[in-house]
Amino acid sequence: MQIFLPIAEVSVNAFILIGLGGLVGLMSGLFGVGGGFLITPLLFFIGIPPAIAVATGANQVVASSVSGVLAHMKRRSVDFRMGGVLLAGGLVGSALGVLVFNLLQQLGQVELVVQLCYVVFLGLIGTMMLQESIRALRRARNPAAPRRKLHDHMWVHRLPLKVKFRASGLYISVIPPLLVGLAVGVLAAIMGVGGGFIMVPAMIYLLGMPTKVVVGTSLFQITFVTAFTTLMHAVSYNTVDVMLAVLLIVGGVVGAQIGTSLGARLRAEQLRILLALLVLAVCGKLALDLFLPPEDLYTIVVRAR
């Protein structure tokens, strides 16, 4: 069934979009990731203009993170104070990112920068996940391996403006979480992602937060930052396609539920390896597009209607 997207002004098969949303939802249910970093490049592949893919991707992430944060609030695994600091940084970052996005669009380089960001980040994350899960598999076979410390005291903990984060059991400066939030906000606006894949490792390894509050707190921040990003894109550039978003969300929420129950029955380490390989595959496809000579040297960009 073909459907005409009112803002993107292209006709796409609705089942492909629902399926795409479902696939990404399945991933997010299985692996506990937002899925924004997969949905936006997949939208590029099916021919959605990049500006619309990014803005609509952010809208889709709102839907998938809302249900997650609600579940975590029930379990009391959200550090609201830390979330608030991350959010403050995130809103500034998102506003900055939307400005940068507009600048890039005028320079004609938005596609390139978005693709480069994806190649770099997907490459890094894929490699890290692959290493991590292979190590975990080895550890499972050899339980005598040494354990890690709870967290190390590093330069991050010697900065001024210290604040007590009770839920995380931390007494640290607000500067590092503000900066982490800022970076994630910029990425949300430029890449149309939630940024959980950056924030979660940063919270664990940089801020030293306990793992039990990390996912809930990052989801809390992501919900608000992507909501703000969606609004900014909609108001400044009219690039949010709600029809596209609804189809992706419908597929996504169903896929996420199936993924969650499926994930409970499968082995985590092997799943992580699968996800890592998938992330690297998407990264490889994007990188090839950048390095191989394009099919046509010329592209047409519509400046105004």
């Binding site: 069934m1 073909q2 459907i3 005409f4 009112p6 803002i7 002004e9 292209v10 006709s11 809208n59 889709q60 709102v62 839907a63 998938s64 993170s65 809302v66 249900s67 609600l70 579940a71 004609g108 380089q109 596609e111 390139l112 480069l116 909501a227 969606t230 609004l231 894109h233 909609a234 108001v235 400044s236 009219n238 949010v240 709600v242 029809m243 978003a245 609804v246 969300i249 419908v250 929420v253 169903v254 996420a256 539920q257 950048l290 390095f291 191989l292 000579p293 394009p294 046509d296 040297l297 010329y298 592209t299 047409i300 960009v301 519509v302 400046r303 105004a304 209607r305």
Partner: protein, 283 residues
């Protein structure tokens, strides 16, 4: 019944002529218009020997949610007071969509990756342009007449070039033609018009799924010995309707409201789905 329709069409013809003044014959209003050739649609006084009487399958195209391209049928008859001349008659039909401002980018390899490096900005290019005819344009149409009316694709394109930053723009405009043809946005069908008995003609013109809203200008040319002997113009309105129209207008007229609505949809869907599944699991 058919005779009645023909009489009606004839009665309507003068009204259609007056309406033709509403949009210029040449696509680019910025260029000076060449004076109208003397033997074509002359003012009141003298009627050409042969005239087009046209019907359209519809004078509007509606873009609905399930819109997947469309086809318009342009049909008509040739009215003449004198016997049919010996020379072959040809009919050319063009359909032109509203124009957009474009940038054409050329990529080059920089530090191993392919980057947009050179650009040509074009002020106005029709988002869709179709030409259908009864024969190969280079055989049936005199280039001078083509240039005057800007009928063929390269001629139509020439009218749209604006101020340029790159010295050699030819490869850029060629690329524009090539890419647009590949997308089905520029069409050339040199056997797309069927002419019967030198009197009745019909043309089916395919509209792509990626349509821009607005007034599409249709022109029908009668050609004998390479010369245009009559031209008739008719507008076709292309509009989004229903939900498509509502969403599009909301997104551009009330962007804040539209953004909030998109968020509300997302939040409700996210929350609703998890609530629904929780119930399902309990049941």
């Amino acid at each position: 019944m058919r005779r009645l329709a023909l009489i009606l069409a004839l009665a309507l013809a003068p009204a259609a002529l007056a309406q033709d003044e509403a949009f210029p014959l040449y696509p680019d209003p910025g260029l000076p218009r060449a004076p109208a050739p003397e033997n074509v649609t002359p003012p009141e006084a003298e009627q050409p020997a042969e005239q087009v009487v046209v019907g359209l399958s519809s004078d509007s195209v509606a873009i609905t949610a399930s819109f997947d391209g469309s086809e318009i049928l342009i049909y008509g008859a040739i009215r003449r007071e004198t016997p049919i001349p010996d020379t072959p008659l040809h009919v050319i039909v063009t359909v032109e969509a509203p124009s957009q401002a474009l940038t054409i980018w050329r990529k080059a390899r920089r530090a191993g990756i392919w980057v947009n490096t050179e650009r040509v900005d074009v002020g106005a290019v029709p988002s869709y342009y179709a030409v259908a005819s009864t024969g190969p344009l280079d055989q049936i149409l005199d280039p001078a007449w083509d240039a005057r009316y800007r009928i063929s694709l390269p001629q139509a394109m020439r009218a749209f070039e604006g101020a340029l930053e790159v010295r050699d723009t030819v490869p850029f405009t060629e690329a524009l033609l090539r890419l647009r043809e590949a997308e089905g946005r520029f069409l050339l069908d040199e056997s797309g018009v069927h002419l019967a008995e030198e009197t009745l003609f019909r043309a089916d013109i395919a509209l792509p799924a990626t349509l821009v809203e607005g007034e599409y200008k249709t022109r029908i040319f009668l050609v004998r010995e390479g010369q245009v002997i009559d031209v008739h113009r008719a507008p076709i309105m292309v509009r989004k309707i229903g939900l498509e129209r509502w969403l599009y207008r909301l997104a551009f007229d009330q962007p804040l409201l539209y953004g909030l609505m998109s968020l509300a949809v997302a939040v409700l869907a996210g929350w609703g789905a998890s609530a629904a599944f929780r119930k399902l699991r309990r049941a």
